[in-house]
Structures are given as structure tokens and as C-alpha cells.
């Protein structure tokens, strides 16, 4: 089936399934809603077909998908699959945090594995999703946004915190921390030091 041929209902179903897979592939919760959206953004860059299913917009925190937000908060096909909390973070008020699967969500995850795990592209997709979770979950919100903003500048147009995050002192401090922890290469570190707004 071509992605273009999907009905809105089929798209909604797929988005919820992708959400279940990305959240379920690692045992720990997705730290914040920002992580979830940025991780899906990376995922759609890895698997470009996904951009036909999950649309992204330039938003106040960079790349953001209303489709994902709706699927997480009001799932139609997998009701009660997701759980999360609301918390005030230093950078973002009333942030969705600790996103995980409920027992019903975990059962749905197992069903999806059972149904599709014979297919090599599906196994590859799961490994990719896991890789993304393992690479991006450990970042704190500021680190995550700095890396996304500096890499995908065209997506920062409406970002409300882009300027403050890219202010020299803050940017250099964050860049140093990322480099010291071995998260970014020296070349990326240099780029962050020399970045201009």
C-alpha cells in the first residue's frame, strides 16, 4: 500500500502504532514530550516514508508534530495505551514527562511484535527506533534542543527559546558539557562554539 493512499483513519492507526513501538522499545519512559517529538523527527529523517504519515511543523520548540500530540493524548485505536505526567521544567512549563506504555499499551506492543517481527525491515526499524531512544533519552532538555536547533536551523523559525539557548555563554557551556561527556565530536563542539544566531 502506498502511503499516499492511506485514509485518515489508516494514518491515525499507523501513528498510534509507531508511537507504541517507539515508546515500548526501551523499558524506561521517554523523558519528556520534547524528547518524543524530536526522536520521531529523527526517526522520520532515517525513514523518509514516515514523513508521509507523520507531519511535522515548525513550532515554538522546533520540530513538532500535532499528529503525535493528538495520538498520545487521545488515542482512538489504542485507548489507555499511554501514560505520562505533567511537570513544570525550568525551560518549559507544564511539560508532559515520563511517557510510557500502560499494561494495555505493552500488550499492544507485544501484539505488534508478534504480527510483524518476521519482516526484516520491521526488525531493522525497531533497531533504529531503539538506537534513537538510547542516543537521545539521556540528553537533558537544553542539550536536546541545542543539538536539534544547531543541526536543523530551518526548523527553529518559530522557536521561542532559540535565541536564549544560542546565547554565547549558555551555548558554550552546554557545548562543553556535551563534548566532555563524549556525546558530540570535537568538530561539532567547534561548530557550536563558533555558531551564530
Amino acid at each position: 500500500m502506498a502511503w499516499d493512499d492511506l485514509t485518515p483513519e489508516e494514518r491515525e492507526l499507523l501513528i498510534e502504532q509507531y508511537l507504541i513501538l517507539l515508546i515500548g522499545i526501551v523499558d524506561t519512559p521517554v523523558p519528556t514530550n520534547l524528547h518524543l517529538h524530536k526522536e520521531f523527527f529523527i526517526l522520520r529523517n532515517v525513514a523518509p516514508d514516515l514523513s508521509e504519515v507523520i507531519k511535522f511543523e515548525k513550532h515554538m520548540y522546533g520540530p513538532y508534530s500535532p499528529d503525535l500530540n493528538e495520538a498520545l493524548k487521545n488515542p482512538v485505536y489504542y485507548p489507555d495505551a499511554f501514560e505520562f505526567y505533567i511537570k513544570d521544567l525550568p525551560l518549559v512549563k507544564r511539560m508532559i514527562v515520563d511517557i510510557s506504555l500502560t499494561p494495555k499499551g505493552k500488550a499492544a506492543f507485544r501484539e505488534l511484535l508478534k504480527e510483524y517481527s518476521h519482516a526484516e525491515p520491521f526488525k531493522e526499524f525497531l533497531a533504529i527506533a531503539k538506537a534513537i531512544r538510547l542516543m537521545y533519552d539521556p540528553l537533558d532538555v537544553e542539550e536536546l534542543l541545542l543539538l536539534i536547533y544547531s543541526t536543523f536551523k530551518e526548523w527553529t523559525k518559530y522557536s521561542s527559546i532559540y535565541r536564549s539557548l544560542m546565547a554565547p555563554a549558555r551555548r558554550k557551556h552546554l557545548a562543553y558539557e556535551l563534548y566532555k561527556k563524549g556525546i558530540i565530536s570535537k568538530s561539532k563542539y567547534q561548530e557550536l562554539l563558533e555558531a551564530t544566531l
Binding site: A47, E124, I128, I132, I184, S185
Partner: protein, 183 residues
Amino acid sequence: MTKTEVISDSTFYICFLDDIDYLEGLKKIINSGKFKFVIGPVVENEIGKSPNYHFIKPDLSKVREKPLPFNYGEIVRPFLGISEIKKGEHEVIGIAIVYHLKGKDFILILDEDGPRRIIEKKLSGIKSKMTGTVGFIGRCHYQYHIYTKEEAIDILERIRNSKFRVQSHIINRILDEIERCGP
């Protein structure tokens, strides 16, 4: 016999193709029957720029594994610099992470310091699979028996005298390993 998959950046191929201009040395590895070479599109494009690439392409295509059509490099693009991305280092790391998570056995040949540091500090599961071009040449003698001792030493000395960027003490260390492993 199961072939070990080799995931390498372009530096390894360019070393033989251009830096030391020793195509036979690379062909011996390619035609040894011991490896499959995993090459993504960015690295292929980089190697393809070598005027000597067409000499090895037919042999390489027989033992080449194309990864599935995902943009693996995008997994780690935000962690690397633009110059590293242009060379396809992100693609190599992305493929290696996914292969590692799938439990595949492979050798990762990486020469650039930046990507190597990320693997050493943040991707410890892959660290043991990682080597550099000169380290791999050493192993092609004492582990895979593709090169004789004299051939391996000759290639390492060619590298020492070429524009290939590697510190002399690393070449010396590999030469010591080759000597210790006997004929």
C-alpha cells in the same frame, strides 16, 4: 563459512586507492572470501570520487552488502560536525549502532578521531568491534591470514610514508603486534 561484515568509513578504501595507491592490497582483502562489506550511499559516493575506484568496483560489488534503504546516518547527525557528515562518518556510526542492536557480528573500521571518541565514550558496546585502518591491516596478517608478514609490514610502511593521517607510534604498535605473532 560465515563472512564477517566490515563496516568502514571511506578513509580505509581511500588509503589503498589513493594514499598508497596499492589496489592489489585492497583486492586481496576484498577477494579473501572472509568478509562482506557494508557500504551506505554516502560512503559509496565518497569512495566513488577516487579515480581508481573503478578498478575495485567489480570485485567489491560481489561481496558488498547494501544496508536496507534507511538513512542510518540521520540517527547521529546532530552529534557530528559538518565535515564529518560530508565524509559519511555519521552513516558508518548509524549502521554500526543498528547492526550492534540486532546482535550482528561485524568489524568497524574508523580512523577519524571525533567519531572514534564518541564510540569510546558513549557506545561502549561497539568499542570492542572498532579498529583503525592500520589495525585492520595487522589483523589481516595475524588473524585472517590474508597478508604474509612481509606484505603487512610493507603496506604499513607505505602508509607511514603517505599522506594517510595516522600517528607513527600507532603504526609502530601494529608492527610490534605483527612481529609478536610470528611468521
